[in-house]
Amino acid sequence: MLQINGLTAGYGPVTILRDLSFQAAAGQVTCIMGRNGAGKSTLMKAIMGLVPAQSGQIALLGQPLHRLPAHKVPLQGVAYVPQGRRLFGPLTVGENIDVGLLARNGGAKTRNFVLDLFPRLRERLDQTASTLSGGEQQMLAIARALCLEPKVLLLDEPTEGLQPSMIALIRDTVLKLRETGLATVLVEQRVESVLRMADQVAFMAHGRVEAQVSVTDLRPDSTLFRQFVGV
């Protein structure tokens, strides 16, 4: 589904990602692990076209993404839940959803689908997004992204700072979405969560994917975890 080859990218003159290769398949959850500053979030921004690619290719079903302006990337079927959620805070829950629906002209059907996924949002449509609890904000960030009816969903540390019941809810949602054939790319730091959700795990360090393996090859005490996450 999503295929990245030899990607080099960064902020202005600063190169962060170096010759990075990565893939994510449909109907699978591909987790990305790596220490703080490894470049996980930068990789997500590069896929979205928010960080320009200096060289290399990003392709979705064979179609190149890396030459598109950022606002055309979501139309190809990539949706993004950024680290720290980055909702449109002063807008209401309903308006955040509406922004998600704009690009695809997604109508009532999509809107109902995402609100059925998170009934708590339906009760709060007129509430200002910035006044939601952390868990509700994360639900809204995911709901807003799903409004694009994506083929690939990028989730950057969606459970950061949430309590266990919320983490479980987000995890269940990710697994439910996997059943629909969605390719999910999930940045996640908790080994236990990764082992329960992932099909594939990519380990990042210094702006590169150093290893990408099937989850069946991993154990909680695998050396890869120790080497790249330090647990």
């Binding site: 921004k45 979205m48 076209g49 928010l50 302006p69 950022a70 606002h71 055309k72 990337v73 979501p74 139309l75 949706a79 993004y80 950024p82 980055r86 449109f88 805070g89 002063p90 807008l91 308006e95 509406d98 922004v99 998600g100 704009l102 690009a103 695809r104 807003r144 694009l148």
Partner: protein, 276 residues
Amino acid sequence: MAAVLALTAVGLSLVFGVMRVVNVAHGEFFMLGAVLAWFVTYYLPLPPAFAWLAALIIAPLIVAGIAALADVLVLKRLHHDPEATIVATIGLLYMLQQAALTFYGPDARPVAAPFEWRIQLPWFGYSGYKLFVVLAAGLILWGVWAFMTRTKAGLVMRATQVDRDIARSFGINVDRVYAGTFAFGAALAAMAAVLIVPIQQAHYLMGHDPLLLSFIVVIIGGLGSLRGTLIAALVIGLSDGIISMFFSPTLAKIIATLLVALVLVFRPQGLFGAKA
């Protein structure tokens, strides 16, 4: 005039709010609106009422076009960097002023009011046109508010204002939103000018006062806050008028400047915070 000031200030506030661009040339869009209104009413062989109405539509459209062009040709190349755009809009200010001087000349010229009746109240007479200006400005302001809160385009502008990168990730063409916002803000200034030009003659230097007053209003109301801008415009516009009339215009400006200083010291986010 508080109502017209509010229109001009809302244009400035919108541009700053959405784009983080301090548009120093905003007053020149106001001036251009007035000057174009003179051209339209002078050259169109229509009775005053229709000529003025034509100006109310044509002048803002032309000014919007010029503003959109300025955005695409200049501001976009600066990546809308907040500091670089201040310098760029200062340049734009002088270009527009010199263009007006060249093509329009140094004279102040009147534009005929669309109608001339006076309302006789028992204690004083009041120009019917002035009342009409207040109503029209109020209507346009209500329209702007409805546009921002009720339409898709308004939603897109508000989302871009909050987070332009994330807006891009939802398919919003931020360059287009910026050009549109800059044009819209300029058109509001031009509209205000067409409303005021039958009362105040068109002159190539007339952009200074509205620029200064708009800045005062926008700072007091809270940069980028629509509601704050409206309320501050009313307060500043009314008090400026009253103090100028009974004391002196200089005193009015001094008081307004003092007020700005106080707000900047005690409430730098403006009286109405950062709410859109």
